[in-house]
């Protein structure tokens, strides 16, 4: 039996990979994937706790998160495509119009 701490450590590692990916990467799609990674690390933690506490609540949350992530992926990809059509780039360094 793998102890819960292993799962949680894995979850934290995945989460911070996602965080640093969001901060560091310049490609909008990669940033997007990193956000998905963060969501899934949270899912992993939910599942681990659900198993550990022998409760179904965590699993229900995971389904919610997956649904939201799917919707978000659809909207996000739509935005990225629209962005590319307009500016012919998805490099976030070039997309800084929203400022003074």
């Amino acid at each position: 039996m793998v102890p819960i701490s292993h799962y949680l450590v894995l979850s934290v590692i995945l989460f911070f990979i996602g965080v640093f990916g969001v901060f560091i990467r310049r490609n909008a799609i990669v940033i997007f994937m990193c956000i998905e990674l963060m969501l899934n690390s949270a899912n992993l933690a939910f599942i681990a706790f659900a198993r550990y506490l022998d409760s179904m609540d965590g699993q229900i949350f995971v389904f919610f998160v997956m649904t939201v992530a799917a919707a978000e992926a659809a909207v996000g990809l739509g935005i990225i495509i629209a962005l590319y059509r307009n500016r012919e780039t998805i490099n976030v360094d070039d997309i800084n119009l929203m400022k003074w």
Binding site: V19, V22, F23, I31, V92, D93, I95, N96, L97, M98, K99, W100
Partner: protein, 655 residues
């Protein structure tokens, strides 16, 4: 008919609407017709109300409320009208004289490009004046008060393209502001004390709240009198009236002689209950009135401008009215107000007719011997002069005599001042007659060719007013009981308590003489004395006329020699005691300096510089540096969110 009192001010307002809003393309004839018929309708309604009131006198003053205007906490003000003897006399006088002068204006203003504007303003003035005299509360009266001030300003500056009329209009408006300020303060004080601004409750409660002579009531009445001083041109606020002669002559006749300037007298008479509770204020009113009467009469003696002579004479006669009010003879004051409206309106219209004949000439030194050319103007002017000089049986005799008699009863000094002023009045009025219509012609030859009598539309009003000036005094014949109908008519409003008022008022004046305490006694056994006084005042008038005759017809070179002899006095009088110059140096200039300081320093530097531009500058600088935080990179924002979360976590975990 009384319920339709609101029609009285309504018709002139309708006239303003028709001429002012719709009348752009109306022909002149129609504009004049609308203007005159509006006033005529008001006059007819007033007459009907008067007849009804005479036939069945109501027990109490009649109030008509149209609707509630301001309901605000304790303050409730209605648009309402008060019908009693006093307001009726004023309504009849105002609408009647206004109608005559409107008709005259049709002829006088015929060639003026501002014809429509003129009639619109004139109707607006009558509307406000009728509101003033019919109002049932101080606030509504104040609306009329301010409205007539506005119309006065508009009409003085009617020929606004010239500098002198424009300045005169501003002067009138600003000087009146000082008086209105007093009126406003008095009104607030009345509201604080009585909790209402309606006339009837205030006058009903006043004797219960005050025993007489309290500081509050003295303050109220003095502040009201300050307002009256502004509107009715009394010392020290009289300076605007002579300058107001820059306006068209019918305007001078209507506003600055017959009606508006008497508003102050009307207001004091309306508040007679309050004044009778404040003997000190009564004393002040009497003294100011007497001083004004003699002060301005002395200026009129040496003035050469026919309209200014009449203007100073107006101020002087207004002084008489206040003198009457101040000694408690309110009915006599209102009586003189009415007769004065007739003969002073007449005199001004005659002056207008003379100007009309002489292509606008005002200087009496360039007139003379006009009697043959202007017969109607001459005879009507003469009647007006006889009336104002107090010659029996013209209107002014009865009213002026009544005032002098009342002044005599209360204080001999006031009588002496009044009698000297009466002598001066007779003198300067007949000086005007002789210089204008008699003697050698000094008319400039170019002008002399065109001298002509005015058209009937102008001379008929003169005749109408001349008739009124002749017989107008007969409504108030003194001595014989029951013949003084004017007095009897007004007594429900102004009270029959004048005798003890006269006594009270003088108690407040420092120099009260021994006459005062006995005045009641005198009143009852005084028929012989009163007759004697009538003869005395008649003689005073006749002496004035004879003096004028002697100086200006018999020996025309004599006035010049007298002027040489008393050079300094003449200089002082000729320059109107330098009052304008004194006001300019001690009031206008300091105000200008202070205003310039506030403008250049406070407004430009502090308000505009430090406050407005300064705050904008600070915001610009601060935001200029803070805006760099907003890079437009979402990753930067995310990083700051992360750092913030970590910081909060640190704070939570540290504990």
């Amino acid at each position: 008919m009384i319920e339709y009192i609101w029609l009285v001010p309504f018709f002139p307002l309708l006239g303003v609407f028709i001429n002012g809003v719709l009348g752009i393309r109306f022909p002149k004839r129609f504009i004049g017709l609308v203007g005159c018929s509006a006033i005529l309708l008001s006059f007819l309604v007033s007459c009907l109300i008067f007849l009804e009131l005479i036939q069945s006198p109501p027990a109490a003053p009649f109030e008509v409320t149209l609707y509630q205007w301001i309901p605000c906490g304790d303050l409730k003000v209605n648009i309402g009208f008060l019908v009693d003897a006093l307001s009726l006399v004023m309504m009849l006088t105002v609408s009647g004289v206004s109608f005559v002068i409107h008709v005259y204006s049709i002829g006088y203003m015929h060639d003026d490009p501002g014809y429509r504007r003129y009639f619109t303003y004139l109707n607006l003035f009558v509307f406000f004046m009728l509101t003033l005299v019919t109002a049932n509360s101080f606030l509504l009266m104040f609306i009329g008060w301010e409205g007539v001030g506005l119309c006065s300003y508009l009409l003085i500056g009617f020929w606004y393209k010239n500098k002198a009329p424009a300045d005169a209009g501003k002067k009138a408006f600003i000087v009146n502001r000082i008086g209105d300020y007093g009126f406003l303060l008095a009104m607030m004080l009345i509201f604080v004390v009585f909790g209402t601004l309606d006339f009837l409750p205030v006058f009903e409660n006043a004797p219960h709240i005050f025993r007489g002579g309290e500081l509050t009531i003295i303050l109220i009445t003095l502040l009201l009198f300050l307002g009256a001083c502004g509107k009715s041109a009394q010392i020290p606020l009289y300076v605007w009236l002579p300058d107001a002669m820059e306006g068209p002559t019918p305007v001078s006749a209507l506003i600055h002689a017959a009606t508006m300037v008497t508003a102050g007298v009307y207001m004091v008479a309306r508040c007679n209950v309050l004044y009778s509770l404040a003997p000190l204020s009564m004393g002040v009113v009497a003294v100011i009135g007497a001083l004004t009467a003699i002060f301005t009469a002395s200026i009129a003696i040496v003035n050469n401008d026919i309209k200014r002579v009449l203007a100073y004479s107006t101020i002087s006669q207004l002084g008489y009215m206040f003198l009457a009010c101040g000694v408690g003879a309110f009915a006599a004051g209102i009586f003189h107000l009415m007769t004065h409206a007739f003969f002073k309106g007449l005199l001004f219209l005659c002056a207008g007719s003379v100007m009309h004949a002489l292509s606008g000439e005002l200087d009496m030194r360039k007139m003379g011997s006009l009697k043959a050319h202007l017969p109607i103007t001459y005879w009507t002017f003469l009647i007006g002069c006889l009336a104002i000089a107090g010659i029996f049986p013209f209107a002014g005799f009865f009213s002026k005599d009544e005032i002098l008699w009342n002044a005599f009863q209360s204080n001999i000094f006031l009588w002496v001042v009044g009698a000297i002023a009466a002598f001066m009045t007779a003198f300067y009025m007949f000086r005007a007659v002789f210089m204008t219509f008699h003697g050698e012609s000094r008319v400039e030859p170019e002008v002399a060719k065109h001298v002509h009598e005015s058209p009937p539309v102008m001379t008929n009003p003169l005749v109408a007013l001349a008739i009124l000036s002749t017989i107008g005094g007969l409504v108030g014949i003194p001595i014989v009981k029951g013949w003084n109908r004017f007095h009897d008519f007004l007594s429900p409003v102004l009270g029959g308590h004048e005798a003890h008022l006269a006594e009270k008022s003088m108690a407040g004046v420092a120099y009260a003489t021994e006459v005062a305490p006995h005045s009641v006694e005198i009143m009852h056994h005084s028929v012989g004395l009163e007759l004697l006084m009538m003869v005395v005042s008649l003689v005073i008038g006749i002496v004035g006329i004879i003096t004028a005759y002697y100086l200006y017809l018999k020996c025309p070179e004599l006035p010049e020699r007298i002027a040489q002899r008393f050079k300094q006095l003449y200089h002082l009088l000729y320059n109107k005691y330098f009052v304008d110059e004194i006001y300019f140096a001690y009031v206008v200039t300091p105000v200008n300096i202070i205003s310039t300081f506030f403008w250049k320093f406070f407004d430009d530097k502090v308000v505009d510089g430090a406050l407005v531009n300064g705050s904008a500058w600070v915001v610009k600088r601060v935001s200029g540096s803070l805006k760099r935080l907003q890079t437009g990179y979402v990753q930067h924002y995310a990083l700051s969110i992360l750092l913030g979360v970590l910081f909060v976590l640190y704070l939570i975990l540290k504990r």
